[in-house]
């Protein structure tokens, strides 16, 4: 049986005891998947998995707290579930985790860059073992999956679900790059260059908060300080300063909690490379606290605790 059949059988098995199971189905065109809320066996027919099923569905879990929910997770998504559990934002007993052994998902941005025509004109897509055959505006193209994989997949240390009740497929690990060339290149730039980059990029931001709402760890939801009037952290004005301030809020509140699922960057309608900030912060967290969010149960996020003697913090001697 294929992974998808196994998954369907496993879900069918548990569906009776659950309010719904969250998975993916084909979206508005052949190139896009969309979240699927499975409530009946009939819904199960629409379930898909694979490289187009990009969404981190754990984003929905805190909003469904108190309900019995099943969720299909890739390796990276499972880290978000673990982090939500560690922060007691969801109850373990209420969640049934269907874990996948993931081979990576696509980046729509990379697909767009690789195609000669606008992927908005897509007619059909066939997902192969290591390629995508796409027909766009009457032209056929074959894209190697390796070339259009999301950045997070290139450095992914946890392709297999870290935590699951049912694991579908065989654990396979994955050879991963230690770091991303574009990240390294950006970090090596001068302060002035980086400053100018964010000024420019944030002038494009429309502060729609898609990055925030797609983030599984942004759990304040309706009560985010960025939209509060009292205290007033961010003006309603759309300007590079205010937009950057919001991103600083996002990144600060995720320090030590971000599971690097990349949903913020994927959700951005104007393609702002937000992961440059996230990856950098995560690197600092790892350096100082030897912590990677969502990689094990019962971890405490480093900013929720302290040590009297911090081995890796050397306050300035002045």
């Amino acid at each position: 049986m294929s992974q998808l059949d196994d998954l369907k059988a496993a879900i069918k098995d548990r569906l009776g005891e659950l309010d719904c199971v969250i998975g993916w189905e084909q979206g508005y065109d052949a190139l896009h998947a969309t979240p699927l809320f499975i409530r009946s066996e009939a819904d199960l027919d629409r379930l898909i998995i694979g490289p187009l099923a990009v969404h981190n569905l754990s984003t929905y879990l805190p909003g469904l707290k108190g309900k019995k929910v099943g969720i299909v997770v890739k390796g990276c998504d499972s880290r978000s579930v673990i982090e939500l559990l560690n922060e007691k934002l969801i109850n373990r007993d209420d969640v049934v985790i269907f874990g996948l052994c993931c081979d990576g998902v696509v980046s729509q941005r990379k697909i767009r860059a690789a195609l000669s025509a606008d992927p908005g004109f897509v007619e059909s897509v066939t997902v192969g073992a290591d390629d995508l055959k796409i027909t766009v505006a009457g032209q056929n193209a074959t894209l190697k999956l390796a070339d259009v994989k999301a950045d997070k997949c290139l450095t992914c240390q946890h392709p297999d679900a870290v935590l699951s009740d049912v694991l579908i497929g065989a654990k396979h690990g994955a050879p991963a790059l230690a770091s991303l060339a574009c990240q390294d290149e950006f970090e090596a730039k001068s302060d002035a260059e980086k400053f100018a980059f964010w000024q420019e990029t944030m002038s494009r931001c429309i502060r729609c908060y898609a990055c925030r709402n797609a983030c599984p760890m942004c759990v304040c939801r309706d009560y985010c300080i960025a939209t509060s009037r009292d205290p007033l952290w961010v003006s309603q004005e759309n300007s590079p300063t205010e937009n950057m301030m919001f991103q600083m809020i996002h990144v600060s509140h995720l320090a030590g909690r971000c599971t690097e699922c990349g949903e913020c960057e994927r959700a951005c309608p104007v393609d702002i490379p937000l992961m440059l900030l996230r990856r950098y912060m995560n690197k600092q967290v790892k350096d100082v606290f030897e912590h990677q969010a969502g990689t094990a149960l019962d971890q405490t996020p480093p900013l929720f605790t302290f040590k009297v003697e911090e081995e890796r913090i050397h306050e300035r001697g002045w």
Binding site: A196, I249, L277, F306
Partner: protein, 163 residues
């Protein structure tokens, strides 16, 4: 003593009520000469300082931000400065990716009796900020600045994967 060169820069200081604010007071009572660029904001504890206070100050045009609290093990509330240390350390390490010069932010510990140490800290930090000069504003100011920025944007800069 006025600023270390002819103009004053805007430095924001967040000082814990129990130690550093007292330390600054001690320095004043002791008539220790200090630069006057620092604007002090008194907070109950360094643990009260959301790193975003620092960020907001920097984004709003502060040229430098100094946080000072009780020495570790001396917190009036036992643990506040331990949390502060973790948060502020991360903030300091994070700043470089934003292009904000991390030297514009510093955190340190000064107790209420350390008037001399306060004088040293504030003098050194002010000197450093003067060496760095006024901080660039994040929002372009003039039409010409906007032009230059927009042009750079349309030519693509910064991140190889995002053009």
């Amino acid at each position: 003593m006025p600023a270390q060169d002819s103009r004053e820069l805007r430095i924001v200081g967040f000082l814990c009520n129990w130690c550093s604010y007292g330390g600054a007071d001690t320095a004043g009572v002791g008539r220790f000469i200090q630069p006057t660029d620092l604007r002090v904001i008194r907070v109950p504890c360094s643990g009260r300082i959301d790193p975003l206070f620092v960020v907001r100050a920097l984004m709003n045009g502060a040229d430098g931000v100094l946080v000072s609290g009780c020495h570790p093990r001396d917190c009036h509330y036992s643990e506040g400065n331990y949390y502060a240390r973790r948060r502020l350390e991360l903030l300091k390490r994070f700043l470089p990716i934003t292009g904000i010069d991390e030297r514009r932010f510093e955190y340190t510990w000064v107790s209420a009796s350390e008037g001399q140490r306060w004088q040293h800290v504030v003098t050194e930090f002010t000197r450093r900020i003067h060496e760095l000069g006024p901080a660039p504003l994040f929002n372009p100011v003039s039409e010409a600045d906007w032009n230059a920025l927009a042009l750079k944007a349309s030519q693509g800069l910064g991140c190889s994967c995002h053009g």
